[in-house]
Symmetry: D2
Subunit: 307 residues, 4 copies
């Protein structure tokens, strides 16, 4: 078998023609002006081996990938009780749909749709200020990535916050069912800051490695989350990690993953590695077009598909 770096190179080179396909998220200016044809990829194995390709060290907005870290924090704080407030089933609807909430008494289907992520944020805010809560989330990500230079992109955070009517609608609606306890404005502040964390593929792969190792960071040897809970986060990523195209991702890649509208995707290869890719152009479902293609190619080469 060729080296990890050779495998990554082979996968990424084979899909360079895909980079120009798709459309960059443009709902806020700060995302719209990201150079559309960036492409990066990084792997970290549980043994500590690393490989990188292209723009792997360049930071981008992690957006919904942050939901993985948020549910990790919430599981540590509330243990299984968090599942009383947010489900763990696929939603069958768009990531920002409100229909299911009306039918199901304001309980969101899972923590990876926006409604569910807002409930998780609300849970994390309890007995904390906005600043404490945001700092805690950033601190967790810095710890996981073993890199304290990671920061929030304030322009993105403010821009998201000023166009958050859809999320405000979801949050108020849920609070009318008693599902949100904090001030809605605080929830949105924290949520938008969390989404605006900027990380590189290398940092993202490193920070997700605990999920490939039963919940313990294998390099720092620090337990992050209980093994069973780590597996459940992976299950959630497998079933709901790509919005309403999670089935398609499972078909093509066959690994737990989570995408963000900034063009990033992280993937967990249980017991083996964590992978992150980034390319800003999105497919019709809001997932990185070239990023998905690269992961599909990588899994074909490495035989990492768990299914």
């Amino acid at each position: 078998m060729s080296s990890l770096q050779a495998q990554l190179d082979l996968a990424c080179e084979s899909i360079q023609h895909e980079i120009g396909i798709g459309k960059v998220a443009d709902y806020i200016p700060a995302l719209a002006r990201v150079p559309a044809d960036k492409f990066g990829a990084a792997i970290v194995t549980v043994g500590g081996e690393k490989a990188s390709f292209g723009d792997a060290s360049e930071s981008f907005s992690i957006q919904s990938i942050s939901k993985v870290f948020a549910i990790t924090a919430a599981l540590n704080r509330y243990e299984h009780r968090i599942w009383d407030r947010v489900g763990h089933e696929p939603s069958g609807n768009a990531f920002n749909s409100i229909v299911q909430l009306e039918k199901e008494n304001g309980i969101p289907r899972n923590p990876f749709i926006n409604a569910g992520a807002l409930v998780v944020t609300d849970a994390l805010l309890k007995d904390q200020s906005i600043t404490e809560c945001s700092d805690q989330m950033l601190g967790l990500v810095q710890q996981l990535a073993d890199d304290h230079t990671i920061t929030v992109d304030n322009e993105v955070a403010q821009s998201e916050r000023s166009t958050s009517d859809r999320n405000a609608g979801l949050a108020h609606f849920m609070r009318s069912f008693g599902r949100i306890e904090s001030d809605i404005s605080d929830v949105l502040d924290v949520y938008c800051r969390q989404c605006a964390i900027a990380m590189s593929c290398e940092q993202l792969a490193r920070s997700t490695l605990y999920l490939a190792n039963g919940g313990t960071d294998p390099i720092a040897e620090i337990p992050i989350v209980e093994e069973e809970r780590a597996r459940r986060i992976n299950a959630m990523m497998m079933l709901c990690g790509h919005y309403d195209a999670s089935g398609d991702f499972a078909h093509r890649v066959g690994l737990p993953g989570k995408s963000g509208v900034g063009g990033g995707i992280v993937v967990v290869v249980p017991d083996v590695a964590a992978v992150a890719v980034w390319s800003p152009r999105l497919n019709a479902n809001g997932n990185s077009h070239a990023g998905t293609a690269a992961l599909e190619a990588l899994v074909r080469i490495t035989k990492w598909n768990v299914l």
Copy 2:
């Protein structure tokens, strides 16, 4: 034919046993503590004749009945263009449902569901302050009722405002589709003040008389709204005036009407009269149980059913 007063007495007396049935709205304390067994009714004819029964001069919270006055004001300000922003079809859903908004790009079905009323409020707020807008609405009602003592019940208004998450959810959701232009907080302030206007049956019947007379107040001889628009408001009341029980009301009463969760109902008898009833206990659909029964009895006696 017996006199108007005799007909009203006969109708009301025949349904006194219905007064104890149903449940008072209790989502805010100020409504919950209204004496549950109140019952009033009043008629004003286009010729100026009046009849009253029971607690007809006692004020109560008009709540959704205010939506009739709001759409009147909006039609005067925006003419038919208001129908570009809010539909005129029955919704087939609960008054506070959000499902239809997601399917129909954030345009509410009609001005009598909450989402539609919020859009109407937003339209009225344009280029006005909260105070100006609220004063304008109260002024219109005072003019229509020919009674400048009518006021907003501030306790009700504040109480509604502090529990308005469902409406805030609807408003933010619609704004995410670009359907609301004002500050959401302002829209909710004005909307809650409008719902908290306190009027008696006598005032309400008087204030609705223009709709029974082609849009012109027949007593003050003041044109309020164009005839065609008055008929369209009546059509709206006939089809959508009783939430998701409008068909039932049309079956039983056969007249345009609008109910409020405070237990009031106004009814338009085209070319003849306006009627208002009040009894706080509500049926399962949120409409006054005894009030509806009284109207059904009255229409049977007077043959006022237009169908």
Copy 3:
């Protein structure tokens, strides 16, 4: 006031430029080949006066207008108990939607959407053969129109029957909730024959006259349905007679009416007259474009709007 005929002429002539607008129903060949620019109108007053315009004596497929006669027959047979099986509220959905049935345990919202009409047909089929039931419906229509030459257009009936998957879907779905008792094939046979009854505007206006006269045919002096039930049928037509454009029709015409996809519309003017119009081109909601325009013009001239 000018004569009835003059009023009808005036109304119809004023909208001749509308006749070319819209699209003929083409889901079956027999309907698709009807000359698109036909236009007829007829009035019969409760006093027996008649007026006709254009193609008023030409037969066409009454389609959903037949639902008015079917609910009349069902009310006579089952009285108010029929409302246990079919609701009387607007649906807020397309005439052939199945979504509401799943949410509401298979009980259709009203007898004028397809699901509701199928339940009514099922009720009428009980203890009767297909032939008896179809003959009974045709017999009722012949009696109401006082014309025994009216027949079913067998080509239309067979063509509808052979493309009735949507209705079969509704019927089987409802039977899975126990809402349909007869053989589905029988229900569809009877339903398709009923829709394929061919009548002229003159016959249709005559046959609807009982609804303008409290349930009694004023010319033949034959009671057809109890007064209260007649008013409820009118209420149903007012709220649900034009599919998901009933609000629009109430806005523009302000009278109880029922349209069919063959381009016909019947309208009840309570205590005054019945009107039928026909023009095959339909608007986006499936209602006759020129027919609606003619009714709107007629009502403006005659002041027949009841609202």
Copy 4:
């Protein structure tokens, strides 16, 4: 590590107290009278090792587990083109919901909800008689299980067929969108026969082994389906194999699985083994209560969770 049989014994014994919990499917008599407290489990490894527990050799109705074999046959016949007719995303709705079909033009979300399975059956019926199609399906199952004694339980098949209104509703509804080509009655006949195949846990585990071995039966050394397609069937089982509780199963078991309302569940352990369990009492989501518990225990012992 203890032996395979010891591990299975340990897992099954640890959950014997769960066997009395839940409710046997009773929508047809033939299923209702199955002894409620049966429990069986069987494992076959890709190396040919076997283990059994309890009623592992007793036949039961495989019901929806048959959908795995049907999509295998359809993939072999139509290759990737079958995905044009049926999606591969979780539905977020009940297994027999029709709502999604109306919103998505009659294309079912995946082959494991009833609507999707009916489309697969329709595809398999093309250019074949009912008998040929049913025989083909039974033949495939016999081949996979390497056991030609497997048969259809005709009583179950006929009983299902006579109560198939819900499925008939789905099928007619889809045909109204042009998604079904065969006669609906034929589709239902074949579908009901397929669901009524009776198999034991031992047979089921053996017959699913190809999915644990990249599509090739490792014992008979016969290629059944291409490797990539096998992985996609596994992905489908992981995401949609347990109706609207697939997320819960993924959380607890973390393996691709498919349950049936007869109380059976098959599970694929990629590259390792196939497992089948059976216990007729179902949880609220329609999946075997004790069966799920046994799989959860087994996976904890064996560490077979792939996530």
